[in-house]
Symmetry: C2
Subunit: 333 residues, 2 copies
DNA sequence: TTGAAAGCGCTAACAG
DNA sequence: CTGTTAGCGCTTTCAA
């Protein structure tokens, strides 16, 4: 809590022998004040240890200089990069960064937005669980930027996983695999759709067969059931919705004595912490998640001024790349 | 950004045929308003979709219903649990949660605090890099709660690592180790001191020899130099400042063809994500980091009201426990 | 129990 | 270029 009394703009004004508005101007619009006056005011302010009140500024101006980022689950390492990138970008712009978790629930996401609406200038929604319709509706009232989700008319920053998925298929094909199984993530997950489409496209082009199983919870624990389901199909190559799930699959396969990559190849997405030291080290589609977070905040800042103007639907697409490690190898037989 | 005009307390007042102050009371002090009036006001507010402005409330009342958490480095998985616990607790109390990174810098930490001072009710400082003196000074003006740091007179929530360190020593002693090397974390790190003291105490009690090396950066990359330094001493047991460093050590030892645990045993702290699937799986001191985050927020909330009153120096100490995996074994020879 | 009125600290017309 | 004035939306005395 703050100390009893803070020095206000009025204290500075009195001390400097000018009006409060002049102090305000000296601080915000330096060019609209006589250089000497400004200098003097600034010195007095400095000497008195004046600190502006963001609250008062925000209440009056409507700008809070704050953005909020909503993330489904903080436990998922997938988001660390995104959060970090977003936080960095916000800090750099002197913007306060609010982080909140929606616990994978669309309702929760909506509630949080309503709750924070008047305290922030905009929202970064990472892997939003909301429907397109809900997002459009919310975008009427709020400044939104999406991460890893594309919705017509809304600004977004996504790491490609469609082209990347094709690369995965090509990689597997070159190893002699004739079919693959995709262990899908949550149904509302936009990337899950992208990945599947990319895999299907790639497979079709190469005369491979692609099967989708799931959905599975995109966490390590989901790997048990996912691996078992995959084995039933007799697949030689398994593509998991993300690295967490892939690591769970790896674990289950080891338990069951299935050799990776000799009997089954495994691929993940995200290249999270641990993907390089699990056993075998995971082949995975890596992407600049931090860039995505950074860009999303940037899109928000661009839109801050024109709340009424229909914001142009800016989309940033970041390239991914396949990191080949030890979990993929020549097809069995 | 918000839509052109939000409904205010005045709109509700007019519509309900009462004064604004009555609306305010109906919302905040339900008991100081006639039951019927209150009911009516609430309904009108509901119908008009009234949402209070946190800014205006904060400006007037001095309470922001917001806390900020400062973390040295978001990249470090060690903090995930703490952040999560803190965020959950804040959410549960309807408190907005601001997250910020200090990039391991004390100056930065101080700047952030000044910057956010007027926007929050208090700060959770996780593994603060500030000196005791700085913290005392800051505590004069701000509401602080520390995580994994104890400072006389300040509220804190820490996961024990002193008693836990003794357990580590006992574990190693029981495996026949006669000496150990501690690969230290940053010098300003409070837990590093605790851990070292715990190890020394434990070693003395058991007639073991304990050596400290470092400091090393508490990240995977720090493991290379740390492992090499440890090997030079001929130690059979290595205790790394945290799991990140331990994983780096494991990696380096593997590179050098040193068998773990046959030739050298390795222990870490934190039980982070990955500690169970690195090779060999890491023996580590685990603790309820999320509880620590939760408690810290709680301490903050307790103190919110009495800013002037010298807050009682409440300390929460959470127990840790040793998780024994495959990186420790009988002493060589 | 309710209303009127005075700000919280700042910004933004509008004059001068 | 600078001062005066009127709020932003809400809470909180003080009276009635």
């Amino acid at each position: 809590m703050d100390s009893p009394k803070r020095t206000t703009i009025y204290d500075v004004a009195r001390e400097a022998g000018v009006a409060a508005s002049t102090v305000s101007r000296a601080l915000r619009n330096p060019r609209r004040v006589n250089a000497a006056t400004r200098e003097h005011v600034l010195q007095v302010a400095e000497r008195m240890g004046y600190r502006p009140s963001p609250l008062a500024t925000a209440l009056q101006s409507g700008r809070t200089a704050t953005v909020a980022m909503l993330v489904p689950d903080i436990t998922n390492p997938h988001f660390f990069g995104t959060i970090k990138g977003a936080e960095r970008r916000a800090s750099a712009a002197g913007i306060t960064f609010i982080l909140s978790y929606t616990e994978e629930s669309a309702d929760n996401e909506r509630t949080q937005i309503e709750h924070l609406a008047r305290s922030v200038d905009g929202f970064v929604l990472a892997s939003s669980r909301l429907s397109d319709e809900s997002l459009w509706e919310l975008a009427e009232e709020h400044n939104l930027a999406l991460v890893n989700r594309e919705v017509k008319g809304l600004p977004s920053a996504v790491v490609d996983s469609r082209v990347g998925s094709r690369q995965i298929v090509e990689h597997l094909a070159s190893l002699g695999h004739r079919s693959l199984v995709y262990l899908s993530g949550p149904h509302q997950s936009w990337p899950a759709g992208e990945r599947w489409r990319g895999l299907v496209d790639g497979a079709r082009g190469l005369g491979m067969k692609a099967t989708r199983l799931g959905p599975f919870p995109p966490r390590v624990v989901g790997g048990g059931a996912a691996a078992d389901a995959a084995l039933v199909t007799g697949a030689t190559a398994v593509v998991a919705h993300n690295d967490l799930l892939a690591i769970g699959v790896l674990r289950r396969l080891a338990e069951r004595g299935v050799a990776v990559p000799e009997q089954v190849s495994v691929v993940g997405y995200d290249d999270i912490f641990g993907a390089d030291f699990c056993v075998p080290a995971l082949t995975t589609l890596a992407g600049p998640q931090d860039e995505a977070g950074r860009s999303a905040v940037e899109l928000l800042l661009e839109n801050r001024s024109r709340s009424t103007t229909r914001a142009p639907d800016r989309r940033v697409m970041l390239p991914s790349h396949l990191v080949i490690r030890d979990s993929t190898g020549p097809a069995a037989r």
